[in-house]
């Protein structure tokens, strides 16, 4: 009896526990998707007014000029997820002259200068939202074929010649800063590129900026494959330098 009772009530006990177990199991299964859905919702509701989430990239100069923030429809192929999550919680400007530089520069005493009054800070997310958005962005992988065509070789070091290649041989420093305050302002800073971007994206973008962004004001410098690897490894090394010290 006791055994029966025990068996019976044990069964009842288990039956009573089924919904709770089911909920736990379902929760464990669904949490990643709930997080993803949250990130997608934040993107749609809070980010889409400045960022293109669906593509394509601008194909006319008028559309290019109207763009307020980087296109995100290939964010999963472009950015390192952990960098996105951290940056969204503490965003700082990556493009010294904003998204379309002409709208944010003015004549200065010696040369044109950035007009800070025209630039506004990026919205800041809390840790949970940043994690959700980073997860959602990591799934947005347009232009997969371009990424698959690249193979990063971390062993091809530029040695001490990296900066010379970047500055003097290919002239990239004309538009990009290689340390805070040093270099051009019309392109994004590159001293953080190594921790911000995937190596394959850097390779592909240097190979053909227009394949990603048909009207972008970055030229194709026709860099040979070997030197492209060295430039990317230079940027990865540069991103480990602490410029705050």
């Amino acid at each position: 009896m006791n055994d029966q009772f025990e068996a019976c009530h044990g069964g009842i006990y288990m039956l009573n526990r089924v919904p709770a177990l089911l909920v736990s199991a379902l929760t464990a299964l669904l949490v990643p998707f709930v997080v993803y859905a949250g990130g997608a919702d934040i993107l749609k509701n809070q980010c889409a007014s400045c960022h293109n989430l669906t593509g394509p990239a601008p194909t006319s100069l008028r559309d290019l000029w109207a763009r307020k923030g980087p296109d995100l429809f290939y964010a999963g192929n472009k950015y390192r997820k952990e960098w996105v999550e951290a940056w969204l919680q503490s965003p700082n400007r990556i493009r010294p002259a904003g998204m379309f530089y002409v709208q944010h520069i003015k004549p200065g005493a010696k040369h044109d200068v950035v007009d800070e009054s025209t630039l506004s800070p990026h919205m800041r997310l809390n840790a949970d939202d940043a994690k959700s958005v980073a997860a959602a962005l990591s799934t947005m992988k347009a232009n997969n074929a371009l990424i698959m065509a690249e193979k990063h070789d971390p062993g091809m070091s530029p040695g001490p010649l990296g900066e010379m290649m970047f500055d003097k041989i290919y002239g990239c420093m004309a538009c990009h800063q290689i340390e805070p305050g040093y270099g051009g302002v019309s392109g994004p800073e590159v001293y953080t590129a190594g921790k911000r971007l995937t190596p394959e994206f850097m390779l592909s973008y240097i190979r053909s900026p227009k394949a990603w962004d048909p009207k972008i004001w970055m030229p194709n410098k026709n860099v040979p494959d070997g030197n492209m690897q060295k430039l990317v490894n230079y940027l990865i090394g540069l991103s480990k330098v602490n410029f705050d010290e």
């Binding site: 394509p56 194909t59 006319s60 100069l61 290019l64 000029w65 002259a97 530089y101 002409v102 520069i105 003015k106 004549p107 200065g108 010696k110 040369h111 044109d112 200068v113 950035v114 003097k168 041989i169 290919y170 002239g171 420093m173 004309a174 538009c175 040093y182 270099g183 051009g184 302002v185 019309s186 053909s208 227009k210 048909p214 009207k215 004001w217 030229p219 194709n220 410098k221 026709n222």
Partner: protein
């Protein structure tokens, strides 16, 4: 609507992403002003740390020393193609040849000059 406009309208309807030639002034604004400046005087926002200063496109003397062919070549192939600075990049993947020809005409307007051969 004449036949030409109709063709363009149909093409834009069928291929909304089709890219039409941009005007020289719009191309200059987008791609050249970053180094050559809002006024085209070589005083662009990027020049602070450059080892070689960009050409002043309003300078009739130096611009007049260049042929239209040289200007076409330097835009398409970059500074090294005419033994000038690597900081002037090749724009061959950005402009069509016709757009470069229009840019050469735009430069002649900026310098108010022509080649003094």
């Amino acid at each position: 609507m004449n036949r030409g406009l109709l063709t363009i309208a149909i093409a834009l309807t069928l291929f909304p992403s089709i890219s039409l030639a941009e005007s020289a002034s719009d191309n200059y604004r987008t791609y050249c002003m970053q180094c050559h400046g809002l006024a085209g005087n070589g005083m662009g926002a990027n020049i602070q740390d450059m080892s070689v200063q960009p050409r002043d496109h309003t300078d009739a003397k130096t611009m007049g020393a260049r042929t239209d062919d040289e200007l076409f070549k330097v835009i398409k192939e970059g500074g090294l193609a005419i033994n000038k600075s690597v900081l002037m990049p090749p724009w061959g993947d950005t402009f069509t040849d016709n757009e470069i020809k229009d840019l050469v005409k735009h430069l002649r307007k900026l310098c108010k000059c022509k080649h003094e051969g």
